[in-house]
């Protein structure tokens, strides 16, 4: 799950970069950048959850 979280972080960043390069309209670009950040937040949630599960298993 932690790996998936980090992959989502990278995917979110890729969405942000793609939005900057490919989308000329300010509103659409802002929307896609926000979407990329949203994917990153999802990735952070997964990485944190994975950390919690690992700790639970150790106990």
């Amino acid at each position: 799950m932690k790996l998936l979280g980090f992959l989502l972080l990278l995917a979110g960043w890729a969405i942000v970069l793609t939005a900057i390069v490919l989308l000329p309209g300010a509103a659409v670009r802002a929307g896609f950048i926000a979407a990329g950040v949203g994917v990153e937040i999802l990735g952070m949630v997964l990485a944190v959850r994975a950390h919690l599960i690992l700790r639970g298993e150790k106990e």
Binding site: F6, L10, W13, V16, I20, V21, I33, E40, R55
Partner: protein, 449 residues
């Protein structure tokens, strides 16, 4: 008698920058004292020695390849072109700091500030790895941070890289701005601290059974408070030097930077103290101190660009944010961060970067892409978006990179001491002597079991 000739403006600027850079080690001294004071007494000497060693390791790695990959505005860089726009992604300076004009050039001053900044960055994860991080592993991790992670992001922001170019290339305000290193130093260090916590795990006895985690208080509130005061002096130098070198601010703007730095720290410290007073009935020294440093961190990015009232708002929010998230990370996310580095440096740093996009009033051209300042963009509506792209880069690229590097390092060189090391304390286990030999050893979770 004729008065001595006053040097030209370039010489005055150089002397001013050198003086300001000389203050920066005080920020490092402050962070070291804070990290030591918030740790246990049986690891205090280890904490201070590790601080010295990681600064040395970071400076060495920065000397070898760090500045070569960070570079400076207008220097040689590796670039590629996408859609007709140039993206500068890595500097191409010579290794070992060769080939520079050491006669006061902007690049030499940037290298000088960089070597102190990278030392400060390396100190940040020490607070998170307190009481369980091996000395050798901390040095190796710091070398990776100073040789790879820091220079890469610093080039993108301070070296005229693609984040700084967002304004020129894509009309996003003036591009990503970070005058004093809220992102480049603080958030990079804070995200490395998060990686270290995930890799090391919590201290033995912190999360014993279900229910509330055990409280392991810091051992010296005086160190912590003194560290905050030293940090204030160091941060003023850092923010002022950064404003001159990385945004082209005129020396006349420095009083605003100084005032905003103090207002940010003060309002954050008060806000954190008030929050803990409201939450626990009394102000908490360690969290109020963390709030103070969080205010310094949050004010770093925008100190030359915001009005003093905005600096107060930025500080107030940072103080509340730090006070609440220190508790939240520990209770709900099982993140054992004795120094509060993740809240103070990563979260407050991210808030400071976004706050610049909200509150900044940039009066004129900003020299963050070339030494000739870029003309103001029509309106500055895209500034928040530029800051958001920078934050997305920190979360989406820097965090996976720094976690991956430290994960690999952990496979080669285990970073955590064994349980026996924690029981003895790192002073005895790794150094063979204690910081306070006359102290009586207190009972703790080990003797209670």
């Amino acid at each position: 008698m004729t008065p001595p000739a006053i040097g030209n403006s370039q010489e005055i600027r150089t002397a001013l920058c050198v003086f300001l850079i000389l203050l920066v080690p005080l920020a490092g001294a402050g962070l070291s004292l804070i990290n030591t004071g918030l740790g246990r007494s049986r690891s205090a000497a280890h904490a201070m020695l590790t601080s010295l060693c990681v600064v040395a390791a970071a400076a060495g790695a920065y000397f070898v390849c760090g500045f070569a990959w960070q570079g400076f505005i207008g220097g040689p860089a590796h670039s590629f072109t996408v859609g007709g726009k140039t993206w500068s992604w890595l500097a191409a300076e010579p290794l070992f700091l060769r080939g520079h004009d050491w006669g006061g050039s902007s690049a030499s001053l940037a290298a000088c500030l960089g070597v102190f900044s990278v030392g400060l960055t390396a100190l940040i994860p020490l607070g998170s790895g307190s009481d369980r991080w091996r000395l050798g592993a901390a040095c190796a991790s710091s070398a990776l941070l100073a040789g790879v992670t820091f220079p890469l992001f610093a080039h993108w922001v301070w070296g005229g890289g693609w984040l700084a170019q967002l304004g020129v290339n894509y009309g996003l305000g003036r591009g990503f701005l970070d005058a004093g290193g809220a992102g480049t130093i603080q958030t990079v260090g804070g995200l490395t601290a998060l990686s270290i916590v995930w890799i090391l795990g919590p201290r033995h006895g912190k999360y014993l059974t279900e229910g509330m985690p055990a409280v392991i208080p810091g051992h010296n509130a005086i160190y912590v408070s003194l560290g905050c005061l030293l940090a204030l002096v160091g941060w003023t130098g850092l923010n002022c030097a950064g404003a001159i070198l990385f945004t082209g601010a005129a020396p006349a703007r420095l009083p605003l930077v100084l005032i905003n730095t103090l207002l940010g720290a003060g309002s954050a410290g008060l806000a954190a103290a008030a929050t803990t007073r409201w939450r626990f009935g009394r102000p908490d020294v360690s969290i109020a101190a963390n709030g103070w440093v969080g205010g310094l961190v949050a004010a770093s990015a925008s100190a030359p660009f915001v009005a003093p009232a905005a600096a107060v708002v930025i500080g107030l929010f940072a103080g509340v944010l730090v006070a609440l998230t220190v508790e939240w990370l520990e209770l709900h996310l099982s993140i054992d961060d004795p120094g509060g580095s993740i809240s103070v440096h990563a979260l407050a740093g991210i808030w400071g970067l976004l706050a610049l996009g909200i509150f900044a009033q940039i009066p004129g051209p900003v020299a963050n892409v070339s030494l000739a300042p870029a003309l103001p963009a029509p309106g500055d509506s895209g500034q928040f978006l530029a800051q958001l792209v920078g934050v997305a880069t920190l979360l989406g690229f820097v965090l996976p990179l720094t976690f991956g590097l430290n994960w690999l390092l952990n496979k080669l060189l285990p970073q955590r001491v064994p349980v026996e090391g924690e029981r003895q304390g790192l002073d005895l286990y790794e150094l063979g002597s204690s910081a306070y030999p006359e102290f009586v050893t207190h009972t703790d979770e080990f003797t209670q079991q």
